[in-house]
Amino acid sequence: MQIRDYIIRRLLVLPVLIIGTSIIVFALTRIGGSPIGIYLSHEMNPAEVQEMKERFHLDKPVPVQYFYWIKGVTQGDLGWSGVASAPVVDVFPKKFAATMELAIAAGIVAVSLGIALGTFAGARRNKLADHIIRVVSVGGASMPLFWFAILLLIIFWVWLGWFPIGRSDPNLFEAIAHPTGFYTIDALLAGNFAAFRDAIWHLIMPAVALGYGATAIIARMMRSSLIEELQEDYVDAAKAKGLAERVVLKKHARRNALIPTVTVIGLTFGFLLQGTVVAEIIFRWPGLGRWMASAVLRGDQATIMTYVMFTSILFLIVNLVVDIIYANLDRRVVLGE
């Protein structure tokens, strides 16, 4: 009952937040002047520029442009991306799939490794393993992704040549249908094991680089909440029942320690999402982040607007889902503030 009300309240606020975000995003792009630049070349003369402005409705007043934009968005027209040289809508799904594949892979790395390391450290508080894991996780939170990724690139690509860059071997993937856009899944659906292996191979380095920071955050949270849970009476009570240490840790303490960790995982998603910009630049991953980075450098405002809008909506929804999961998981939680 309580949870349902809470969810309804959150869902009602969601559109307000989305509209607010859209206004901020639009206002931002217009603060910097007209987005016409991306459609021009430095060899164009003013008359040609005027023609281009008319083509994109950029000769109209700014509020009118906002409505053109919103109207376009509702009709599935997100504008013309100068960077991709195509309508944003055409390019978006493929890039989105690429980014999500990377973010999810990194998320899997981060969640599984983070929880494992956090549990390991929390259960061995103040032992050597705990200290090592703590150093690694504090380091992860302070590690500039762009630097860590470059280090990986230097070591594993330039020096050792173990891992490739990019997303796939195009020769393998041309032959495969792309119903989902996730190369790993597409390869499996096509039953092409070589392609699947190739997709995984390309994923490892960027996913590890991207996942490290999130791993650190999750491990840290997991460790501290596990330590907190291990201080609880019910842990002693469970031990007093004669249960094995392993059962006490896994069935009792870890289960409850996971609950606060879930909220952190939600926040981590934002972290992963923004990390894709840097990871995709460095590992040459053809996703949204890389697109955004070129859009930023070349002033492609249709892309910037779409990207920021979309990631923030995604971020909002993920956090809403996480909150709902959290509310359902934690039977002690009191909703609202």
Binding site: Y234, G242, H252, I259, R331
Partner: protein, 406 residues
């Protein structure tokens, strides 16, 4: 009973179930070593209800936890002493016929503090059980009552479970392996998956049903109405009194020899307190369980306990029959405690509090711990520790550690 024999020997006299001797538990802290329990000795007679009384932080809970090896090390340090306990097993030396080692009881006597993890686990929940102060915290909020109570049976009564399920004789091979894993909570991803499908799932359901029956019986034992419904609930859906009943059910499920009740009623409403207390008393009588009852409330202890030990700042200051101590307290601290009780003999509003604060237990100096608050302090109180000695030759069971009685 001859209490004199207890302290020095490794064995227990016939009618004792447990004996604590010179127990020392310290805790490391940034400021230094905290002497939480500093040389505590007392015994528990088989079948009796022994009270351990003292203010918050005097070390009584730590003492109780020491029975179960529940003290975290570090920061805790077991600095010395022993807790001897008469287990159900036959004495290894005489195989039950009776010898010196087992004080002719025929049963093995173990030092709870020196048992291995595996050995203590066998005792925990089975032979020694514990009821915690706050049932709201001692029950896992994320698990149903059923699964929590069931754990006791799964851990200690595996054969009962199978017998009740009616498959004890028919089990074999993989089914047996899987079900044992299931009951012992040792399943992994694969076995868990296997158990979801027939034929294993059928046997598993029988086992579940058997466990449910055991749990429901155990809950009913503590007068929980609708046990079958209650056990599907989560702890936060139950009232405090109900939760404590669940804790008690869980504790007595295996009919333990020794039940440690660590302030079982403190966290409860006053009305519920009495009923829970009655329940414990009743169960203790019926099952002839020995109980170590820990409380800060002397009057409560008087109501239910046969004997009492009063603790102050990590030491026992006085011990004896509950009635004796209540009527004729010897130690100034005990006297203070009793004066602080509201009772019919005092006028309203004339409660006397003990002045001063409990001294810090970090690297304590020699001398009586109570000296700083004692109104009858003497010169040597600050210098040497008084020993726990019988008050008189007549009543050897009433002992006090105070220089006033030397």
């Amino acid at each position: 009973m001859s209490p004199d024999t207890i302290y020095s020997s490794d064995s227990l006299s016939g009618d004792l179930i447990a004996s604590v001797s010179d127990l020392k538990v310290y805790f490391q802290s940034k400021q230094g070593m905290v002497h939480s329990v500093d040389g505590v000795s007392f015994d528990i007679v088989d079948g009796e209800m022994m009270g351990l009384v003292g203010e918050t932080g005097c070390g009584k809970s730590v003492t109780a936890r020491a029975f179960m090896q529940l003290i975290q090390t570090p920061p805790g340090v077991l600095a010395g002493g022993s807790i001897h306990f008469k287990s159900q097993k036959q004495c290894k030396k005489c195989t039950g016929s009776g010898c010196d080692d087992c004080s002719n009881t025929g049963r093995e006597i173990v030092d709870l503090l020196s048992l291995t993890e595996r050995q203590i686990r066998e005792l925990r929940g089975d032979r020694i059980a514990m009821i915690f102060q706050d049932p709201g915290k001692a029950l896992n909020p994320g698990l149903t009552i059923r699964s929590q109570v069931a754990e006791v049976f799964q851990e200690h009564r595996e054969s009962d479970v199978f017998e009740r399920a009616g498959i004890a004789d028919t089990m074999s091979g993989l089914t047996s392996y899987l079900l044992k894993q299931y009951v012992r909570q040792e399943t992994n991803f694969i076995t868990k998956l296997l158990l979801k499908f027939p034929p294993f799932s059928l046997a598993r359901k029988k086992v579940d049903k058997a466990i449910n029956g055991l749990v429901s019986d155990a809950l009913a034992e503590t007068q929980i109405p609708n046990a079958n419904k209650i056990m599907e609930r989560f702890p936060h859906e139950l009232s405090g009194g109900m939760k404590q009943r669940v804790m008690i059910a869980q504790a007595i499920a295996c009919n333990p020899d020794l039940l440690i009740a660590d302030e079982p009623t403190t966290a409860l409403d006053v009305t519920v307190q009495a009923r829970v207390l009655d329940l414990i008393k009743d169960l203790q009588k019926r099952h002839k369980t020995s109980v170590l009852y820990i409380s800060h409330d002397l009057s409560l202890v008087r109501r239910v306990c046969d004997r009492v030990a009063v603790m102050y700042a990590g030491k026992i200051v006085e011990t004896g029959d509950a009635e004796t101590i209540f009527i004729n307290p010897k130690h100034p601290y005990t006297q203070g405690l009793i004066k602080a009780l509201p009772s019919m003999t005092h006028e309203r509003g004339k409660l006397e509090a003990i002045e001063g604060m409990v001294p810090e237990l970090i690297e304590p100096k020699a001398g009586c711990r109570f000296a700083s608050r004692c109104k009858q302090k003497k010169a040597n109180c600050d210098k040497t520790d008084p020993e726990l000695k019988a008050v008189s030759n007549k009543d050897k069971s009433h002992k006090v550690s105070c220089f006033l009685y030397e």
